[in-house]
C-alpha cells in the first residue's frame, strides 16, 4: 500500500494542477485576509484568525475536488487502474493510498498558512495576544473537514469517467454537506428534523471543533463520514465493469 501512496503523492506533486490549485488557494486567502480592506485582518482590529477559518471551507469546496478528481477517473480513462488491480492489493488499500495522498497534499496547502498565525501573533498588542487554543482547534477542524471533503472527492472520482464530471460532482456534494444541510434545517419547523439535519451537517461539527474544544462526538462524526464515503467507493470499485 505504501508503494501506491508514494506513487500517488509523487504524481500529484509532479502535476502542474496541484501547484496551480495550491497557489490559487494561498493567493485567495492572502488577498482576502491581508489586502482587501473589507475583510483584512489588519483593518479588522482584533488579533484573531476567525475570518480565515470561516473562509477556508469555501475554498476547500473547490480546492479539494480539484486535487482528488483524477484519483480514479484518470486511471479509468487511461486503463491504468488495471496496473493496480492486478497486484496483490485489496480495493481498500488502493482507496486508502489515494485518500492519504490527497490528504497529504491538503496538509501541504495548509502549512504555509501558519505564517498567518505567526503574523497575527506578532502583530497583536501586546505581541502574542492571540487565543492559540482556538487556532489549534480550528486547524484540527480544518484537517477533519479536509479529510471529509477528500473522501467525497475520492468517491466522485470513482463514479465518474471524466475528471471534470468528478470535480463538479465532488464540489456539489461538498457544498451540499457543508451548507445545504444547514440551510435545509432552517426550512423545517419541526424540531426533530432540524436537529437531525444539523447533526448531519459538516459545518455544525466544524464550528463546534473550531471553538477550541475537541469533542468526541465531532471526532466520531468525521470518522464515520470518512468511513461512509470510502466504503461507498470500495463498493463502487467492487462492482466495476471496466
Amino acid at each position: 500500500m505504501y508503494a501506491v501512496f508514494k506513487r500517488e503523492l509523487f504524481s500529484l506533486l509532479n502535476s502542474l494542477m496541484a501547484y496551480i490549485t495550491i497557489g490559487v488557494f494561498l493567493l485567495a486567502t492572502g488577498l482576502l485576509l491581508w489586502f482587501f480592506p473589507d475583510s483584512s485582518i489588519p483593518d479588522y482590529g482584533y488579533a484573531e484568525l476567525g475570518s480565515f477559518f470561516n473562509l477556508v471551507p469555501f475554498l476547500f469546496i473547490f480546492l479539494i475536488p480539484a486535487i482528488s478528481m483524477r484519483a480514479f477517473a484518470e486511471e479509468r480513462r487511461e486503463g491504468t487502474y488495471m496496473l493496480l488491480a492486478i497486484r496483490p492489493l485489496t480495493e481498500l488499500q488502493i482507496i486508502l493510498a489515494k485518500y492519504l495522498a490527497c490528504l497529504s497534499l491538503v496538509v501541504v496547502a495548509l502549512l504555509p498558512t501558519l505564517v498567518y498565525y505567526f503574523s497575527v501573533y506578532k502583530l497583536g498588542s501586546p505581541a502574542g495576544n492571540i487565543d492559540s487554543a482556538v487556532v489549534a482547534g480550528s486547524y484540527v477542524g480544518l484537517l477533519l473537514l479536509g479529510s471529509a471533503f477528500v473522501s467525497v472527492g475520492i468517491l466522485a472520482s470513482s463514479l465518474a469517467k471524466n475528471q471534470v464530471v468528478a470535480f463538479a460532482l465532488a464540489a456539489f456534494i461538498c457544498f451540499l454537506v457543508y451548507m445545504g444541510l444547514d440551510a435545509a434545517a432552517k426550512i423545517f419547523s419541526m424540531q426533530w428534523i432540524e436537529g437531525l439535519l444539523n447533526g448531519l451537517s459538516v459545518n455544525e461539527h466544524y464550528q463546534s471543533i473550531s471553538r477550541g474544544v475537541i469533542d468526541t462526538r465531532d471526532l466520531v462524526y468525521f470518522f464515520s463520514f470518512n468511513v461512509f464515503f470510502l466504503a461507498w467507493t470500495s463498493f463502487v470499485l467492487k462492482g466495476r465493469k471496466w
Partner: protein, 235 residues
C-alpha cells in the same frame, strides 16, 4: 495442472462475453489462446488474472480457487493486459521499482536490474515511459509482468505492433520463460502460434470450438494450414 478453467461464464449486460469455457494449461508448455476479435479472449484473461470476476464457473490456479484466493493468486500471476497500460509519467526504472514494491519484493534494485536485462531495456532504462516507442513500451509491460518471477504468465497480445526484429526477440523471450512457467498468450498471428505454442485453445463468440495440442489439431485437419483451420472453426 497449474491452470484449470471449469465452465467459466461472464456476461456484460445481456451480451454473453464468454459462455461455458473449460480448458487446462500446464507448466513448461505455452498455450495459444486464439479467436476472432470480440470472441472473449481478453475477458477470459482478465478473469484468470483476478481482475474481473466470473458470473459462473471456477478457475483454479496453482491449486487455488480464484474466487476465494484472489490476493494469493495475484502474487503468482504475471499479466500483460491488452494495449499495455502504463504510467507514462514515470521513468522506466521508477515504474518497475514501483511494481516490485507493490508485490512486496525484497532487493528491489537488483530485481529491477535483472528484469531490465531480461527484456532488453538497458538502452532505454533512464527514459520516461511516455518517450518510448511502442515496442519498448511493450517490453516495459512484459517486464512488469515477470518482475516477481510468477509461476503463471498471462499475455494478452504480447507482440501486437512490434517490428519483425522485435517480434523475434520477444518470441524467444516468451519461449525461454515458458520453459518452467505456465504461459497463456493470445494472438491473431498464426505464424506466431506455429512458432511458439505447444497447445491451442480456440474460442469463437464466447464459445469453445477447439482445445488440443497443436500437433493433434494439425493431424485432425490434414492438408490445411493453421489459418485455414482457424477460419473453418470460427466462421
Amino acid at each position: 495442472m497449474s491452470i484449470k478453467v471449469n465452465a467459466l461464464s461472464k456476461s456484460y449486460g445481456k451480451q454473453k462475453a464468454i459462455d461455458n469455457i473449460s480448458f487446462e494449461a500446464s507448466p513448461g508448455r505455452i498455450l495459444g489462446f486464439l479467436g476472432p476479435n470480440g470472441a472473449g479472449k481478453s475477458t477470459t484473461m482478465k478473469i484468470l488474472s483476478a481482475y474481473l470476476s466470473a458470473d459462473a464457473g471456477e478457475a483454479v490456479i496453482c491449486g487455488l480457487g480464484i474466487r476465494d484466493n484472489a490476493l494469493e493468486i495475484k502474487k503468482r500471476i504475471g499479466y500483460l493486459p491488452e494495449h499495455t497500460p502504463l504510467y507514462v509519467d514515470m521513468y522506466v526504472k521508477e515504474f518497475l521499482a514501483f511494481v516490485a514494491e507493490s508485490y512486496g519484493l525484497k532487493g528491489i534494485d537488483l530485481k529491477v536490474k535483472e528484469v531490465i536485462t531480461k527484456v532488453g531495456l538497458e538502452a532505454e532504462q533512464f527514459k520516461k515511459i511516455s518517450m518510448l516507442s511502442k515496442g519498448y513500451k511493450q517490453r516495459v509491460g512484459l517486464a512488469q509482468a515477470i518482475i516477481h518471477d510468477p509461476q503463471v504468465l498471462i499475455l494478452d497480445e504480447p507482440t501486437s505492433g512490434l517490428d519483425p526484429n522485435q517480434l523475434l526477440e520477444i518470441r524467444s523471450l516468451i519461449r525461454n520463460l515458458g520453459q518452467n512457467k505456465t504461459v497463456i498468450l493470445s494472438t491473431h498471428i498464426m505464424q506466431e502460434v506455429e512458432a511458439i505454442c505447444d497447445d491451442v485453445v480456440i474460442i469463437s463468440k464466447g464459445k469453445l470450438v477447439a482445445v488440443s495440442s497443436l500437433q493433434e489439431l494439425r493431424e485432425k485437419h490434414r492438408n490445411s494450414s493453421l489459418e485455414e483451420i482457424f477460419r473453418k472453426l470460427t466462421a
